[in-house]
């Protein structure tokens, strides 16, 4: 009930934000902060003695004859991502105070959060799909109304890509539904029942090889688009570049989260049983994504674009972790998948930090290009430090959250694919090199005097970004905070 309460409150907040006349930013910030606090309280209350499975399970039947009901349930996976989306949305809304956006902007931002929360707590495929789609609309509007150059084209591209992905998701869901109907002569859209191991082993593998491929293809396609992964990523550079910074934060932190969530909440239970045939393909796709995006990022001079590719590159780890999880068993599999889930969390937090600092830099200097911005440490020491911290976390510096995730995945990978991890390491080296290069150009070196005298971030901004950095740091030195419960959840899935 608690989580449903938060969800309804969030819905109310979104409506309020659309309606207020004055001070939209302040109200939205307070609202999103409140949601973050409530989510944290919920996590403490329900997940301190978590032993796997789902908490807050409830179900409100809509139409039992074809298995539609509004069912909720929160696993450790959803919990981690609920926390992540609450943080990301709060940061995005907070930093947007630099440019005063109007009330519809905040209404749309909170609507996105409503969609995310709904997606993460739904345990019925129909509602899963409805929320999955409902997230696209506000993000589309945010890009197409508030974006910069080429916003309409970028928004349309984003929408069409994700929409094509979504329709395949729908087809796959319907296929599962119809399998279940033929198998048990009753109809349900309950995710627990449709992703049940016994059902999948018995009725999906054997009789219908074609449908199995169809099913896996649909799910993969839609989740890979959202992540985004090679070769379905071409909406990414346009959308990130054209979107206003707060929306870029949402794209990097929360939209890519959806792909990862789909991987572990929907695909993992299926592929753990029948996916061994495609596991290698997934791993190779992940490695290729990692290296490819890293190489592309290396040649960017625009910092925002570069970090957009960096974000996509680190999502490559998630594909790798899923593939390893399928191929291995026992502790190695748990390690790989836990690492993957932790990576979604870490990646979202780190990208929020990076993009927020970049936003402040862009807003102060008027440029986000490596060619004009240089030597910022002299004029904006604090924000530069935050950017440095974010970048270091992003390249996987030990002691910060990103390292835990990448280390788990690489460790587990070695057990399964042996020295092929060399390619993963190679990708990580490229990642490190362009991250360092970016820092070197923009933060160190001689100050570009053309930029004039600059103001560092405000006290509030420093406070909020410190808070974000502390989360990243804490997760880096004391990962058990989330790691343990995710591990318990993953154990239950296999």
């Amino acid at each position: 009930m608690f989580i449903l309460g938060i969800f309804l409150l969030l819905l109310l907040f979104a409506i309020i934000s659309f309606a207020v006349r004055e001070g939209a930013w302040k109200i939205a910030t307070v609202e999103s902060l409140l949601i973050l606090v409530l989510t944290a309280i919920y996590a403490v209350l329900r997940f301190t003695s978590y032993t796997g499975g789902f908490m807050s399970v409830s179900s409100y039947p809509v139409d039992t004859s074809i298995g539609i009901s509004f069912s909720t349930g929160v696993s450790a996976l959803s919990m981690a991502l609920l926390f992540l989306s609450a943080v990301v949305m709060f940061i995005a809304i907070f930093v947007s105070g630099r440019e005063k956006f109007n009330r519809s902007f905040y209404g749309l931002m909170l609507s996105t959060e409503v969609g995310l929360f709904g997606l993460l707590i739904s345990r019925n495929f129909l509602f899963f799909y409805v929320f999955w789609e409902a997230i696209i609309i506000p993000v589309f509007m945010l890009i197409s109304i508030y974006g910069g150059k080429g916003k309409e084209k970028a928004a349309l591209k984003f929408f069409v890509y994700t929409q094509i992905g979504s329709v395949f998701l729908l087809l796959s869901i319907l296929t599962l539904f119809s399998f279940y109907g033929t198998a048990y002569h009753t109809f349900t859209l309950n995710m627990g029942k449709l992703l049940n191991t016994a059902f999948i082993t018995q009725y999906i593998t054997g009789p219908n090889p074609f449908w199995t491929d169809f099913l896996l293809f649909g799910f993969f396609f839609s989740f890979l688009v959202k992540m985004p992964s090679f070769p379905l990523h071409s909406w990414l550079p346009d959308a990130y570049t054209s979107a206003p910074y707060p929306v870029s934060i949402v794209l990097a932190g929360a939209i890519s989260l959806m792909g990862g969530y789909g991987f572990f909440a929907v695909l993992l239970p299926i592929t753990a049983v029948i996916g061994s045939g495609i596991a290698w393909a997934i791993i190779l796709l992940g490695i290729f994504s990692l290296i490819y995006f890293a190489l592309v990022a290396m040649f960017q001079t625009d910092m925002k674009r570069m970090m957009a590719y960096a974000s996509a590159a680190s999502m490559g780890f998630i594909s790798i972790s899923l593939g390893i999880g399928i191929l291995s068993s026992g502790n190695v599999a748990y390690l790989a998948v836990t690492g993957g889930i932790f990576q979604i969390l870490a990646h979202g937090l780190i990208m929020s930090l990076v993009f927020s600092s970049l936003y402040i830099i862009k807003n102060t200097t008027g440029s986000q290009s490596n060619l004009t911005v240089s030597g910022l440490f002299r004029e904006m020491p604090i924000i530069s430090t935050f950017l440095l911290a974010g970048v270091m976390a992003s390249l996987g510096l030990p002691g910060l959250a990103g390292f835990i995730a990448e280390a788990s995945i690489v460790l587990a990978s070695y057990q399964v694919i042996g020295f092929i991890i060399f390619f993963i390491i190679f990708g990580m080296i490229i990642t490190a090199s362009y991250h360092v290069w970016m820092v070197q150009k923009s933060l160190n070196g001689p100050y570009n005097e053309n930029l004039g005298k600059l103001k560092d971030g405000t006290k509030m901004e420093i406070a909020v970004l410190s808070f974000l950095f502390i989360i990243i740091l804490v997760l880096g030195v004391y990962p058990s905070l989330f790691y343990h419960m995710i591990f318990m959840y993953v154990k239950g899935v296999f």
Partner: protein, 474 residues
């Protein structure tokens, strides 16, 4: 039975008789009263009364006139939603059509009579008469207006329409040749004549639904007529044509499902693909909407493909439920978007003319955006749920490839629907808009209903229990 008014052959016709009397009364009033408000009021009230009369009918699957006419809940459902669509259009028609309102509204009521009859007919002759009633009425309605464009549109519609009529008559006679009866429920007929009848009737009835290759009239007619009439042509009469297709091809050709299946699959794929691609490159708003309704017709007839192509009872039930769901949602999303064109005071409205309306009236922009999203089939709008049941029926009928084609098409359609949304939120102060209540009221109503009808998923048990009323024996 001594009392002629209680004769059951007459009582089943009370709603029709009532509407007819009102319509004639209106024509008589025309000499004295010229205010459109009076006629709008009368039409709305009499349509409401007709709805009540319909609900009072005993929907006990009883047949009349030698099996030609059957009152059942399924027909009742369609009769009611067609009247709802007329009500919806009537609300906004008067303000646009100021001269001779009595002729317009009387014709409108005549069309409704024909619609009600069609909803209960199980006989080709009845269906033909009802269909012609609607056609002739809409020829008059589409000519309504002073400009040359209206007349041109109407003439085009009329001339192509009577050719379609010819096909129906010829097809019906072949049908009679094969079965020896005009009733749709018949014994096992002779194959050769039946296939000729299938093609001829398909051309005739498919014309009204604007299926490719009988689609071009629709684009010109919708474009040329006044907005309320195009709204009506594309909502109420579309639903009627769809209902007739369901009845004629699923009941009348139940022994030739294989042929029906192939015919409709091919036409459906061509129709939706054509509609979507033509709409992609169209800049004129009304023509774009017209192409989009061609594409929507392609989705609609997927229902016929499912029912004829799969033997699963579940797929059948869901498919017919999808047809019922789609029809009611379609009325509001399509009707509403055609009526919203009135916001721009121009003859030929380009999509770009909507620039800046998002700033002037966010309510208008959001409402039209909801309709567009619903047409594109994106949740949480009712358009999505209708499509959801449609694709569900395809998948459970093992027609996955058809579902893929349909779904890819709906992904393409997103392009042009979203274009309208993007354009509305552009900044541009130079355009003037007509945002009076005659535009806003129907649009906002449609938007609210488009969201609200999502709740129709709760009614699945009730509505799916009446699908047998279609007349298909399973």
């Amino acid at each position: 039975m001594n009392n002629i008014f209680l004769n059951q052959y007459l009582t089943v016709m009370y709603p029709e008789i009532f509407l007819g009397l009102v319509a004639f009364g209106m024509l008589l009033m025309g000499k004295r009263y010229h205010d459109w408000k009076v006629y709008t009021g009368i039409s709305i009230i009499s349509l409401l009364i007709a709805m009540i009369l319909l609900l009072l009918l005993d929907a006990g699957n009883e047949t009349f006139y030698g099996g030609a006419f059957q009152i059942n809940n399924f027909g009742l459902y369609f009769a009611l939603i067609m009247i709802v669509s007329s009500l919806y259009v009537a609300l906004s028609a008067g303000t646009v059509l100021k001269d001779n309102p009595e002729v317009f509204f009387a014709t409108f009521l005549f069309v409704n009579i024909a619609m009600i009859i069609a909803a209960f007919s199980l006989n080709l002759i009845f269906i033909f008469i009802a269909f012609e009633g609607v056609s002739v009425g809409t020829y008059i309605l589409s000519a309504y207006g002073k400009s040359r464009r209206n007349l041109e549109a109407s003439a085009k519609y009329f001339f192509t329409g009577i050719i379609a009529t010819g096909f129906i008559v010829l097809g019906s006679s072949y049908y009679y040749m094969a079965t020896g009866t005009f009733n749709l429920i018949s014994g096992v007929p002779e194959k050769g004549a039946m296939l000729i009848a299938l093609v001829l009737l398909f051309v005739g009835f498919g014309f009204k639904l604007a299926l490719v290759p009988m689609q071009q009239w629709a684009v010109d007619a919708y474009d040329g007529t006044s907005n309320p009439v195009s709204a009506f042509l594309s909502s109420g009469t579309k639903v009627l044509a769809f209902f007739i297709l369901l009845r004629v091809f699923l009941v009348g050709f139940s022994h030739f499902y294989n042929d029906v299946f192939y015919l409709f699959v091919i036409v459906s794929i061509i129709t939706m693909t054509y509609g979507n691609f033509a709409a992609l490159s169209e800049n004129n708003l009304k023509r774009m909407l017209a192409y989009s309704s061609i594409a929507q017709a392609g989705y609609l007839i997927l229902v016929i493909a499912v029912v004829s192509g799969s033997s699963s009872t579940f797929a059948f039930t869901v498919a017919i439920f999808a047809a019922m769901y789609y029809s009611i949602v379609y009325i509001f999303m399509k009707g509403g978007s055609f009526l919203s064109v009135s916001a721009v005071n121009k003859d030929k409205v380009e999509i770009n003319d909507l620039e800046g309306i998002g700033v002037k009236s966010p309510l208008f922009a959001v409402s039209l955006a909801i309709l567009m999203l619903s047409l594109a089939g994106i949740p949480p709008t009712a358009g999505f749920f209708a499509k959801y049941y449609l694709f569900l029926s395809l998948i459970s009928g093992n027609l996955w490839w058809l579902a893929v084609i349909g779904i890819l098409n709906s992904a393409i359609s997103v392009f042009y629907y979203l274009r309208v949304i993007t354009v509305m939120f552009r900044k541009n102060d130079s355009h003037e808009f007509n945002l009076g209540s005659s535009v806003m009221l129907p649009l906002v109503t449609a938007a609210i209903l488009t969201i609200g009808l999502s709740l129709l998923i709760f009614a699945y048990p009730q509505l799916s229990s009446i699908v047998g009323g279609l007349g298909v024996v399973r």
